[in-house]
Symmetry: C2
Subunit: 247 residues, 2 copies
């Protein structure tokens, strides 16, 4: 079910210069049906009028990817802000990366080419080029896609730290290289308290029995819920708020 | 020189349900260097919190494309809002269309495929596929690109009404099928008064001698300046605020 992310974003955006040092820009992508909108800003998220709008304006979405940047490679410019987006097979694909891939050089012969100069966008383009080359006719069944994605992910992850979130608006592909965790919120709902701000929301008052949401983050956003760590090297797929695994 | 578009957007956005009937969503793309951000909303621009933000928050940009939609083909959904964006040759390309292309059917064999179901996005994908097929190695010199673009534009325009704006963040390609006009504002600057709102701005107070800006619109935004009509069938290229023509 589409939901807004105002609560999570309140705590998350504080990490863009207030409770954490990730202040070299930020971005957030919302899927609404097949459509997708992305808000980007090269300013710290705590100072950004756009972030203020996102905090206050409840955009209902099925799949959201947010990122706050600490620049390791590439200037602090708009084109280097995550999440990145491309269209493949008539769907938008959105990608955000936490980590660093030193000396990552890709031959830019594929269709998808980076616009900015981050290792992250290079990796994203390589992943999409690999998917397209393996499935030129269109989007394959999920498990086939997963196997190709796992192989190219392992190859890139051998170069450096490669925690990522990738979505086509229907699935979330989440790879843990060093740190990534998740929780599933579903009935019976309870209250949750943010780590980065002193704020509590009682989800039992705001939800229905049909609601279910998975939240995936590099480090937990709340301090009174049990977050499940994803294992290093693990590539999970979330669909309809639940993780799937393939061998 | 990068400039904000608050004045023009004030009048333009009134056409999304107040002074005109284009109330089936709106969008605006800002290029900042090679980066690009797009704000989209399936709501009328006069009711949209996002439009309110764009009206108030002076984003400085070299190339801006704004669109308000009156749906002719495709549902009123986010994926059908203009402007559309794709990456080609490592640059973002942004496109907005005014018009209607009845019975426009493209074989979807190219790399770029529409996400939504508008004739406009189909036409955009066909244009980019044609450019890529003609220049697979990368972006060609401007005049070569222009000739290919003109040919595919004429082909599409033979089907229906095809007024458009296309930008790679360095050039504006503007095609007039039925209506499109422009003005160049440069020193000596004067006051301009909007048609859609009773608002005047004296640009001589806000500009320097080095500033120059081209504004292109389907119908004039101001009533005390001389707007130059683009001729039906004409494809102009604007660079650094001036129109170029090729034979």
């Amino acid at each position: 079910m589409p939901t807004d992310i105002c609560f999570s974003f309140e705590g998350f955006s504080a990490r863009g210069g207030k409770t954490d040092e990730h202040s070299d820009g930020w971005g957030i992508a919302f899927f609404e049906g097949k459509g997708c909108r992305i808000f980007l800003d090269a300013k710290p998220s705590i100072d950004s009028p756009l972030a203020e709008l996102v905090r206050r304006y409840p955009i209902h979405s099925t799949h959201v990817i947010a990122h706050i940047r600490k620049a390791t490679q590439g200037e602090v410019t708009l084109e280097n802000c995550h999440p990145f987006r491309r269209e493949l097979w008539g769907r938008y694909w959105v990608f955000a990366h936490n980590g660093n891939l030193p000396d990552f050089q890709v031959e830019s012969k594929g269709i998808f080419q980076p616009v900015g100069d981050t290792d992250s966008e290079q990796a994203f383009c390589l992943m999409l080029n690999t998917l397209r080359e393996n499935f030129p006719q269109g989007q394959p069944p999920l498990e086939e896609l997963y196997q190709v994605l796992r192989k190219i992910t392992a190859k890139i992850a051998s170069i450096g730290v490669f925690n990522y979130l990738l979505s086509d608006g229907e699935h979330f592909f989440t790879h843990c290289s060093t740190k990534l965790c998740y929780i599933i919120r579903q009935a019976p709902f309870a209250a949750a308290h943010l780590i980065d701000e002193d704020m509590t929301v009682d989800f039992s008052e705001l939800t229905t029995k049909r609601d279910r949401v998975a939240i995936i983050a590099t480090t937990p956003l709340t301090d009174n819920e049990v977050w499940i760590p994803i294992q290093p090297g693990e590539l999970l797929v979330f669909q309809d708020g639940l993780p799937l695994t393939f061998k």
